[in-house]
Amino acid sequence: MAKERKRRQPADAPPPGDDDEGRDHRREKKLRKERPDPVLPSQIKNKDKRKEVHAKLKREKKAQKRKLARERGQAAQRAPPEKQVPRTIENTREPDETVCRPDDQELFAGNDADEFNAVLKQQTTPKVLITTCRFNSGKGPAFIEELMQVIPNSCYVKRGTYELKKIVEYANNRDFTSLVVVHTNRREPDALLIINLPDGPTAHFKLSKLILRKDIKNHGNPTSHKPELVLNNFTTRLGHRVGRMIQSLFPQDPNFRGRRVVTFHNQRDYIFFRHHRYIFEMKENKNFSKDKKAKTSESKSQPEKQVICRLQECGPRFTLKLLTLQHGTFDTKNGEYEWVHKPDMDTSRRRFFFPNMSCCPQDVSSNLLPYKGRYHPTAMGLHLIVPALLSIQELIIAGPMFFKAAIASSCAVTAPGSSYSRASACYY
């Protein structure tokens, strides 16, 4: 009905402010003089006449439509319409007061005093012990094998029937800095426990969506170089602490020659793990410019060369969700918790405990020191990494935040000679 009205509108009453208005009116008047009441073509019985009238009407309508379209186009050129930002859960999330600020002296003092400081300041090298739950089978052993390739300087110790507290003691005696326990249930790894040694904290993660290397199409095989680390969006105090904990699993001096990168991307409280290799290649830039004359004269003679980055995923791929963060080493009975997820905290879908960059402006997060200098800006690589992380399903889950991150990081990185601090924007 509405459509019909719209279609009919221009013929019946042309919009005001029209420069052809006068002429249209005249024509209409003439028509009206000939036929006082407007006759529909369908009412005309003579076929030739009917055709003629119909064709005329049709022409008028078409002209009107074209004119409107032209006007619209001109208006858009004069003032481009505001791009509509979709309302997503990320950008309508509840504001969080616990987000780290770069001007916060207490944050840095707290960092200097915390348990990860020795490793992160490179006073000690990280040494990681990996063990399992008591009954380890199915995907567990394969996962551990891959995890050991991801984390340098890690070794597997058979769990046997020892209590976890005994294993913590054992690892302490041998100067391990972290302990990772992979818990399997029904032959599927379903939980990950990271214990910082010698005195805590202990993070308990739920592990889901595990895909091993052999199940990834076109996967690569990682080298034994020390990987680079990308930590995205660990902005709140809790996120910051967990981020530092994850960071302390890896050596702080990556071999950039290895071109191996490990990513922990946090989004809506889920931490996505990915592991990639990358390579830089020179590629001719096909310059499709609009004026062909310029192209023929200049760029044909010397084709522009551009560095591009190709990525290859070398698994595993999994998702973590923090369940508890315990003060001190593993102790379920007497333990004190720094953070426990409780159902009554979920008062809103828009409340997250490790928020995203949307609430932490770029320029602010870029100055945040904790991960500064940690990550080597892989020239143009990074903006390719982020889309490459996504499968279709993840795109649906992740929404536009990933792309925002990608775009932000690409701006930050592609400028040659951009400082590390600028590039570190992408971690948050």
Partner: protein, 443 residues
């Protein structure tokens, strides 16, 4: 439909609380707007320095000349002015340690600053400390030679226990008895003046399987203001126990609360309720009245209710406001939270960035005082003290009427609250009456 239920904090009445954290900072949180307002950090004292982390704090909450004592990780007890953060004295309180290394091994566990105070004396304050290995000290600090690091006056020390770790101590309202307990140490009661142990608890009998759990006490307090014989002690084994030192050595009531160790306890001035906080961030209040008179159909150790909300980390410290129906809790989730004890609703939460260790409430704070001190610019501290004095006198004069007024205002007062006002008016004897009134209400 998106699940969205906004939890709103209605704001808390004028209040001043001081919190201490693991970086050795002391933060002052105030709510200033009159009927209800948002609590905010107004001042931060000290510089962040991890070796000076505060382990315990105690406030001599007086109208005139209040003093805040903090026990630091390096074994120093500092006395501060809680109005402006000025350091009055710093005393090495880790005992007569032969070397610094041994003092480092034996950090202070508890601290209590005595409130009774002669205003014209030259003493700054007297405090009781206890180290983790059980060395208790009472020390006094004089005003003059605060800098010379010498304790003057009645100083005494004793050993609470030879084995185990002391985790809490508590001093009764009359400040003549102190109680200690900890991992491997049964609750024991000491007379401070004579430095002698007057009572110690006995473990409850083993269960039907004859399984005996080793004592591990994590928090304790005296239940009533005017009675040092009733003790509430909480265990690591998530039990809240009531001991009556006059009757027996085993607990009179023992209640389980959830599944994680209880880390903090505070008593209510009404003399029968306690607030407990656990290692997983659960906060609840219990009624610890016993049933021995028989007329009251009361379930002993009744859980009055939980303070549900966003508390996500271990609770390290709980304080009850002496006059207003409020409690403040803080802990490892680095929030200071202020709750209403009647409705058990969260009034205000303040994010304080570090793991907090202790909170104290300055009950002599009011908004009038602020304005007046502002108008009298030259010496705000003195002015404030004066105003405080005036206020106190006024309060003493009007206390009865005032109290009734405030009580009437709160419509959702529980009957417990009614009891307190009655109790305050007519003293000790009306225990029977109280029960009768309750009975009437029930009927």
């Amino acid at each position: 439909m998106p699940r969205t239920s906004v939890v709103e904090s209605p704001g808390c009445p004028p209040l001043r609380a001081l919190t201490t954290d693991i970086l050795g900072l002391i933060k002052v949180v105030e709510a200033r707007t009159k009927p209800a307002g948002v609590a905010k950090v107004v001042e931060t004292w000290g510089t962040p320095d991890a070796p000076r982390a505060v382990l315990a704090a105690s406030l001599a909450d007086r109208a005139v000349d209040p003093v805040l004592a903090v026990a630091r990780k390096n074994g120093v007890v500092e006395l501060l002015n809680p109005l402006n953060g000025e350091t009055l004295a710093g005393v090495k309180a880790a005992g007569p340690a032969p070397a610094d290394s041994s003092a480092g091994e034996d950090p202070l566990a508890t601290l209590h600053l005595f409130r009774r105070h002669a205003p014209d004396s030259f003493m700054l304050g007297t405090f009781l400390t206890c180290t983790e290995k059980g060395k208790a000290h009472v020390k006094s600090v004089a005003k003059e030679n605060a800098s010379s690091d010498m304790a003057v006056g009645p100083s005494s020390s004793w050993d609470v226990s030879n084995s185990g770790t002391v985790q809490f101590s508590s001093v009764d309202a009359g400040e003549s008895y102190a109680m200690f307990g900890g991992k491997g140490i049964e609750v024991n009661l000491w007379d401070i003046t004579s430095c002698s142990k007057i009572w110690s608890a006995k473990s409850p009998r083993g269960n039907s399987l004859q399984i005996f759990t080793a004592p591990w006490f994590t928090a304790g307090t005296f239940l009533c203001k005017d009675d040092h014989r009733k003790i509430v002690a909480c265990t690591n084994n998530h039990q809240v126990r009531l001991y009556d030192t006059a009757s027996q050595r085993r607990p009179v009531i023992s209640v389980d609360f959830r599944e994680s160790p209880i880390k903090a306890v505070a008593e209510d001035p009404n003399g029968h309720a306690v607030y407990v906080g656990t290692g997983r961030g659960d906060l609840a209040s219990f009624d610890m009245r016993t049933v021995h008179s028989g007329t009251l159909p009361l379930f002993p150790g009744k859980l009055l209710g939980c303070f549900v909300g966003k508390c996500s980390g271990s609770i390290r410290s709980i304080v009850r406001h002496p006059e207003l129906p409020l409690i403040a809790s803080c802990g490892l989730d680095s929030y200071l939270r202020i709750w209403d004890t009647n409705t058990r609703q969260l009034l205000s939460a303040v994010f304080l960035k570090q793991h907090l260790t202790a909170v104290v409430i300055d009950s002599h704070f009011s908004t009038e005082e602020l304005e007046e001190s502002k108008s009298k610019q030259p010496d705000p501290v003195e002015a404030e003290a004066e105003v405080r004095k005036e206020r106190k006198e006024k309060k003493n004069r009007m206390s009865e009427a005032d109290e009734d007024g405030t009580r009437m205002l709160d419509h959702d007062d529980s009957d417990a609250e009614m009891h307190t006002s009655k109790r305050k008016k007519s003293g000790e004897k009306n225990k029977g009456m109280k029960k009768k009134s309750k009975k009437q209400q029930v009927a």
